[in-house]
């Protein structure tokens, strides 16, 4: 098991290096000149050249990449060109906010999705199963801006139970902002819930058909022991992995939801960085998101290996 984790970690590092090269070179070919962006169209060539050397843009690409990666690793992520502030603390506060939202969303869809999926799988062919299948199919196709707007108009505007805007003061703690997290959390959860239900249902149906479940039943085990002792562990294997993988997206990829609710998370930061062609900020945010996605994939691998003795090699 240790051996397995070490090897996976090695692969994460390798992947990180490759992705960092990609990010670095992608921003190089991005349209638009940084200096023009910052200084305006009518800036003098000399001012542009000064800014270039200030940003290190006049050096060769490998050198630029090397210094950039070294700075990044040291935690020196530079200054945002558009916001004129240190990138490190900026990303950190957004990351904390994103983690709050991801946690709330996850808590809303993961347990519920698993329970509903199991229920549908165990009661295959009944009206509950059919209802859940149709319902989840309907939601799986709805984009976040539709579900989000629907939730806002229903819960915030008509019923006035929850705030429609999720703008929060910087540095607020989790419990202060919790009411503002519920609507965006629900928006995120609705999309993933359907997915988790369908996945859990499918694997439960599959596991219920296996010979070992027949063995367990014919051992004389009561239904709850068959379920918890023999079905659950095997049936949840794919679901748990998918949920772990989705953490990366929840933390770093909620651009639409965060924009819709005006929530200051990582996703919105990426969006504004791209809109303003803020090169250092684009690089830093992308790198952070890449690390989060890779770590959540690593977590998924480890959980999968832990639950499934067959792949511990």
């Amino acid at each position: 098991m240790i051996n397995f984790i070490v090897r996976r970690l090695g692969m994460v590092v390798l992947m990180f290096v490759l992705v960092s090269m990609l990010i670095f070179s992608l921003t190089q070919v991005l349209p638009g000149d940084v200096t023009t962006m910052v200084l305006g169209r009518f800036a003098s060539e000399q001012a542009k050249a000064e800014l270039r050397s200030e940003l290190g843009l006049d050096r060769s690409l490998p050198v630029q990449y090397g210094t950039w990666l070294a700075d990044f690793a040291r935690g020196d992520w530079g200054t945002s060109v558009s916001l004129r502030s240190e990138i490190g603390p900026l990303i950190w506060s957004r990351l904390v906010n994103s983690t709050y939202l991801a946690f709330v969303g996850l808590m809303m869809f993961a347990p519920l999705g698993i329970v509903l999926g199991l229920f549908a799988g165990l009661r295959r062919g009944t009206w509950i199963d059919n209802g859940l299948s149709i319902g989840s199919l309907a939601f799986i196709g709805l984009p976040e801006f539709v579900t989000g707007l629907a939730l806002i108009s229903l819960l915030a505007i008509q019923l006035d139970w929850l705030p429609a805007s999720s703008a929060i003061p910087p540095g607020a703690n989790f419990f202060e902002i919790l009411p503002k997290l519920i609507l965006p959390g629900m928006t995120v959860a609705l999309t993933s819930l359907a997915y988790v239900i369908r996945m859990t249902r499918a694997s439960t149906v599959e596991v219920m058909k296996t010979d070992y479940v027949r063995t367990a039943r014919l051992k004389g085990l009561p239904p709850h022991k068959v379920l918890f002792g023999h079905v659950l562990r095997n049936a949840l294997l794919p679901t748990v992995t998918v949920i772990a993988v989705s953490i990366g997206w929840l933390v770093g990829g909620l651009i639409i939801t965060e924009s819709l609710f005006g929530y200051p998370g990582l996703g919105r930061l990426v969006l504004s960085a791209v809109q303003r062609r803020d090169l250092p900020l684009i690089q830093a945010t992308t790198m952070v998101i890449v690390v989060i996605v890779m770590l959540s994939n690593l977590a998924a691998d480890i959980i999968y290996a832990y639950l499934n003795p067959r792949i511990r090699y």
């Binding site: 027949r214 051992k219 004389g220 085990l221 003795p309």
Partner: protein, 701 residues
């Protein structure tokens, strides 16, 4: 008398009928089944797939899928009517009083729980033991089923154990609660012959030591002959005959039992190649059962009365019942061989000696180690799947190739046909050296060697019609087109006894036996000199196996086709072949004419295979030579004689250190062994000699 029988019986089923509700209507899967089993008795439930064996056994326990239900009859277990029990009480019976052993032990055990955890459960659930005591009992049970190193097995997961060990775990699990009834559902079907023999020994021992009654479900007549006291023959949902084992084998009274015995090879070492008795037609569908006797449409003894009303299962002599109006006219099986089968020719008399069609010289195939084991990859390990095999096939002959799974039989065949490139040696066809792969071989050579694969589902393209499938080799290899092609497709279908209109069907519309016939027709379409048959019958029902073996034999008689017949089933190989090659771990152990290889002196490995073979004749007495362990990994072939790690006759140092010589025995028979053939001959007894020896001894008393 009837009442006493019921009270003494452990399981007593009477008039049981089970139905499945499906979209096509109600299917009566089991009808009016009556049987009982006394303590220490074993009843074999025999029948082909779809006969309702498992439904009967599981339905008796009230374990049916949601659409199945018991419509009539009673089931008593030690006097308790199971129908009267609540679900909770029923669960106490399941596992508590009835232990079940399944066909596929790997599937029957939970992949993510240790063996210990799965055994323990039985003790905590039914015996009220604490976890530690239950665990200890599990260890005790593993010891009882002769599991090597039970302590470490308890900590392992199912995927870490071999098939034979897993089945022992399942048996140990069933025995934890000392059940009064054991249901064994094809427990050895998924295992190798040698492993099967070990498990069957275990079942026999358990039968002797335990009080339990055993219901043994199988399609394998050889196995019931070895294990069971009585046999119930099932056909399309009904028990058609019930008799003591020996009586049934010596004098079957139901025409179906008779045909079933006739369509399996009998390992009689006859000098002729003979066809088997076949059953025409197929098992009727449950939604279209014939009005009279269900077997009547396929029965050659059927008269008007048989099709008018169904014959009841009646007692024809004490302890024997049969559902046939004409049971007294059913001939003994010996007569069938003379009347219902044809002699193809004398064995080994295909062609003048000395003539060779295909010669393999020192063929090696090393495959890259698959799997993701880091260790193996680091060593750049190679699997020596075929490790220096030399053999030859005479034109018009059949060479049988036997060995346990993992012995390299299939890889050898693939190297000959050119699907897997050999890494050394020569393959020579009619004096012409063959290139390593199909791609490099000229069309003419490709046409000459064709192959029939084990699994017709995988080897037939589901999107091609039967006609396209058979027509491809016709146009690609023989350049036949247009009307002539259609004509030939029809002829080929006819040669495998399929109607011409099958050419428009898709594989999905065919039964397993029909698919394999199409595969044979496709192989024949190229008009090859040699057809390699890789386990062509293993996945099929016994009656279908018989038909296919006849088909191959007829093809040989008519077109003079040469066959390499690969099988793990020694009796099928004995039946089909003029010569036999025995393979172990990538190398041949013995090669020679069938009659010589199957009689002493033989290689110790051949001896062990023969000893493990379940001969479908309860009178045959076999030596109990059992091979321990499993076939070693082909990445680490043992030193010296590669069989020494499992050989019961291993001489010690010599066999461990030195590769054995190829000893010639007679003109065209070789044994790869250090022990001189004369010594082997003196010490070994042939299967059939033992029986004759016993008979004569008994007669002289």
């Amino acid at each position: 008398m009837d009442a006493t029988r019921h009270t003494s019986a452990i399981l007593s089923v009477s008039g049981l009928s089970i139905e499945y509700r499906t979209e096509r209507g109600t299917l009566p899967a089991v009808r009016n089944a009556t049987l009982d089993i006394a303590p220490q008795q074993s009843l074999g439930l025999v029948g082909e797939s779809g006969s309702g064996k498992s439904t009967l056994a599981m339905g008796a326990l009230r374990y049916l899928p949601e659409n199945g239900r018991i419509v009539d009859g009673t089931v008593r277990l030690r006097g308790t009517d199971l129908a009267s029990l609540s679900p909770g009480e029923l669960r106490e019976i399941w596992g508590g009083q009835v232990g079940i052993i399944y066909q596929n032990p790997l599937g029957a055990l939970n992949p993510s729980l240790t063996i210990g955890r799965q055994l323990r459960e039985m003790g905590t659930l039914h015996l009220g033991l604490g976890k530690r005591d239950a665990f200890r009992l599990g260890q005790e049970m593993l010891t009882k089923v002769a599991m090597p190193d039970p302590e470490s097995v308890l900590r392992r997961y199912p995927h870490q154990l071999s098939g034979g060990m897993l089945q022992r775990c399942v048996i140990a699990m069933a025995l934890m609660t000392e059940p009064s009834l054991l249901i064994m559902d094809e427990p050895t079907t998924a295992l190798d012959v040698t492993t099967q023999a070990v498990v069957l020994d275990l079942v026999r021992e358990l039968k002797r030591d335990l009080q339990a009654a055993i219901l043994y479900i199988t399609h394998d007549l050889g196995v019931v002959a070895r294990i069971c006291d009585r046999i119930a023959v099932m056909y399309a949902g009904e028990i058609v005959e019930m008799a003591p084992t020996r009586a049934l084998f010596k004098r079957p009274r139901h025409p179906y039992s008779l045909s079933l015995l006739g369509c399996v090879p009998h390992f009689d070492l006859s000098a002729e190649k003979r066809t088997l008795v076949t059953i025409t037609g197929a098992i009727p569908h449950l939604d279209a059962l014939p009005p009279g006797c269900i077997f009547a449409p396929r029965c050659r003894f059927a008269r008007e009365r048989c099709t008018a009303s169904p014959p009841p299962l009646t007692e024809i002599e004490p302890g024997r019942s049969c559902a046939c109006y004409r049971w007294s006219e059913v001939p003994p099986p010996e007569d069938e061989v003379g009347e219902q089968t044809r002699v193809i020719r004398t064995r080994g008399a295909g062609v003048p000696t000395g003539d060779v069609l295909l010669q393999a010289d020192d063929v090696y195939v090393a495959l890259k180690a698959s799997g993701r084991s880091l260790e193996l990859r680091r060593q750049k390990a190679r699997v020596h799947a075929v490790d220096g095999v030399s053999a030859f096939i005479r034109p018009g002959d059949t060479l049988g190739l036997v060995g346990e799974s993992g012995s390299g039989k299939t890889t050898f065949a693939r190297a000959i046909v050119g699907l897997t490139e050999r890494t050394g040696g020569q393959v020579v066809l009619r004096g012409r050296q063959l290139e390593g792969t199909v791609e490099k071989r000229p069309k003419e050579v490709v046409r000459e060697i064709q192959m029939v694969f084990q699994n017709p589902d995988a080897s037939l393209n589901p999107r091609h019609t039967v006609g396209e499938e058979i027509g491809r080799p016709l146009s690609l290899l023989r350049g036949v087109r247009g009307r002539e092609r259609e004509q030939l497709i029809g002829d080929l279908l006819a040669s495998v006894n399929l109607p011409a209109n099958y050419s428009r069907r898709y594989p999905g519309e065919l039964s397993g036996g029909e698919k394999q016939r199409v595969a044979i027709a496709r192989a024949c379409a190229a008009d090859p000199a040699l057809i390699l048959c890789d386990e062509p019958i293993s996945s099929l029902d016994v009656s279908v196996q018989g038909t296919l073996m006849n088909l191959l034999m007829d093809r040989q008689a008519q077109a003079g086709t040469t066959f390499l017949f690969i099988s793990h089933d020694l009796s099928a190989v004995e039946h089909m072949s003029d010569a036999i090659a025995v393979m172990y771990l990538g190398r041949l152990m013995e090669l020679g004419p069938t009659a010589e290889v199957m009689r002493p002196p033989f290689h110790p490995y051949t001896e062990a295979l023969l000893s493990a073979l379940p001969v479908p004749d309860p009178d045959v007495v076999q030596d109990e030579i059992r091979l321990g362990g499993v076939v070693p990994s082909a990445t680490e072939v043992p030193t010296g004689c590669r069989f020494h790690t499992r050989c019961p006759r291993c001489l010690g140092e010599l066999c461990v250190r030195q590769e054995p010589p190829w000893q010639p025995v007679g003109s065209s028979h070789w044994i790869y062994c250090h022990i001189p053939s004369a010594e082997l001959a003196a010490d070994q007894v042939g299967i059939l000699d033992r029986q004759q020896g016993l008979d004569s001894r008994e007669a002289s008393r």
